[in-house]
Subunit: 352 residues, 2 copies
């Protein structure tokens, strides 16, 4: 049973605005000044999967950059979506492409903008999932992160009875998926032992395609037509993507399917979904400041300051996020940085 990896790299880059932009979304940013998050995602998984079995789904705008970032991956494995329509069409597209070569292979789906501290543990979890799918090929498996605080920015997974165990990993049946909670609900989820929904999945290609056929038949049929058509593939793909609903794999399949399981894992995962998340992720100084680049701190506590060239001087500033991007500067309190998406929409609409 061959292993295939699909890296989703079509993100729009609003959440780390103004560092990330449409032309340079989060997955193309380097947090350590060395390599991009996409490149790190590729290198993290490459010890257990060959480049020829690695697929990247991205968008046309950044396609050229993506190709340069992972030159090892065959060009035909890099799929460009004409329009971003959330994760379901993206995953369906990749599954159908892989299905042509290996309909019964195992497919791992990974976002390209996550940070993982313990890479070996991550790979071991994937290998555990492969062995679980060998025994239970009907399962749709997600990786559930063991939470260490009541984050309100993630969805949660309630788990129930144990299905399978090997070494230090266990596989549980999923009882339910829960949307992003408020603070109080998040705290109760933590007490109940719920897991964070990481957006990392694994399943057999035939299983997920069957699930698409059942739960998202329009996407299934549409993609099948496009990919079996002999002529004008790009045009047909564009037409399909323009017409299809934007829907997540969580909402479209995972929450509806019956045979869903989760591997509880802990490997220093962070989705870097906001400047607040980045502030928690990167090391801080003795006063709780997380800084990048040329930052001068004077009587400044618990800030996240990201310079990309200019000297940032924080004098008497606390609990604040300051990011100097290429053509914009963001200042907001810590804990508010998740709201930047909404504000960017407002800015675009009113052309502020």
């Amino acid at each position: 049973m061959a292993l295939h990896v699909v890296i989703m790299a079509g993100g729009k880059g609003e959440r780390l605005w103004p560092l990330s932009r449409e032309k340079r979304p989060k997955q193309l940013i380097s947090l350590d000044g060395k390599s991009t998050m996409l490149r790190k995602t590729f290198e993290r998984i490459s010890p257990i999967v060959s480049p020829s079995q690695t697929y990247i789904v991205t968008n046309r705008e950044i396609l050229d950059t993506v190709i340069k970032e992972v030159p090892e991956v065959p060009r035909k494995n890099i799929l460009a979506e004409p329009v971003a329509k959330n994760t379901a069409p993206c995953i369906g597209y990749a599954a159908m492409v892989i299905s042509k070569d290996d309909p019964r292979g195992v497919m791992v789906v990974l976002p390209s903008d996550h940070v993982i501290a313990d890479e070996q543990r991550f790979r071991d979890a994937i290998s555990f999932g492969v062995s679980a799918l060998d025994k239970y090929p009907e399962l749709l498996i997600t990786l559930g992160m063991i939470p260490n605080y009541p984050e309100t920015g993630y969805g949660y997974i309630a788990l129930t009875k144990r299905i399978y165990k090997k070494d230090s990993f266990v596989l549980h049946r999923v009882e339910a998926f829960h949307e992003k909670p408020d603070r109080r609900l998040a705290a109760s989820y933590i007490r109940k032992g719920y897991l964070w929904n990481s957006g990392m999945f694994m399943w057999r290609v035939d299983t997920i395609l069957t699930a698409f056929e059942k739960h998202l038949p329009k996407i299934y049929k549409g993609l099948k037509e496009v990919l079996s058509s002999k002529k004008a593939g790009e045009d047909n793909l564009t037409k399909f993507y323009e017409g299809v609903d934007a829907i997540s794999i969580d909402y479209g399949i995972m929450e509806k399917a019956k045979e869903v399981a989760v591997i509880p894992v802990e490997f220093g995962w962070n989705d870097v979904g906001s400047w607040d998340a980045l502030g928690r992720l990167l090391p801080a100084d003795g006063k709780g400041n997380t800084v990048h680049g040329d930052v001068v701190l004077d009587d400044a506590w618990n800030n996240v300051a990201w310079s990309t060239g200019k000297k940032i001087v924080l004098m008497g500033v606390n609990n604040t996020v300051i990011v100097d991007g290429e053509d914009a500067i963001l200042v907001c309190p810590r804990g508010r940085s998740q709201d930047i998406n909404k504000l960017l929409k407002k800015i675009k609409q009113s052309d502020l």
Copy 2:
């Protein structure tokens, strides 16, 4: 009795950092996007004094820029100090230069980085001072601003009996000069009717030179030697400036001299000594935000935000100063911006 004006334009530009820099100090900044504060100072006084009787003291670093800013002023009237040594050497230097042509003339000394709303009232105050000096040529006169709140960033002037009156102006004898007070003391100064020390002065040239000879004899002798010497004027000037103590005219003469008077005035004066001062000076929106350039405000109150190109986004930020300069960004709470001088010294020393 001819009127001469000396505009002091040698400032180092630390107080509006990072907008102002050594190469572009405050007097060379435009607050309205039209003309610099130096140019405005020149234009403010020019209805009552000709360019040939206008003098500008600046420093060598910005000399060329200053010449371009006020092309009407004869080149010989633009004096460049080799080293900044506070106001006493600057004023002594100008007084001696003017003295050669008009030893009994009246000399007005004006900083180049003040904002004055009612320019006619300002000129009327100067004209009143000229008529006072006609009657009382022995006086050293300062302009005292009638305060409207207990500012802790200015020195205060205690006044006593009335000397002279004309139209709506009066001249009082000065009882004492007081250093910058703390908040409580400032409040008591306001109750006692003290005035803000504006740093604007007027006197007869011979009177101030006699005061220099008495109170600052080293400066007096040093300058006299340099300016009477026939050869290598620039070299001698440099030697003098390198050796002379940095001392203010307030401390060196005004606080010691006996014949000191003040004209209480109110003409919408602001020394723009800090971002806080600028925030009070410029109009604010309905939420108390004073902004310049491309600034987006979302749930943001009482901020001072100054963009020079990049879009500044303030989301949930209150009572904060944010300035995007050419190569640095300052973020600090309102009320702290006066501290930037101290911090810049620290930054320079430690090469932060």
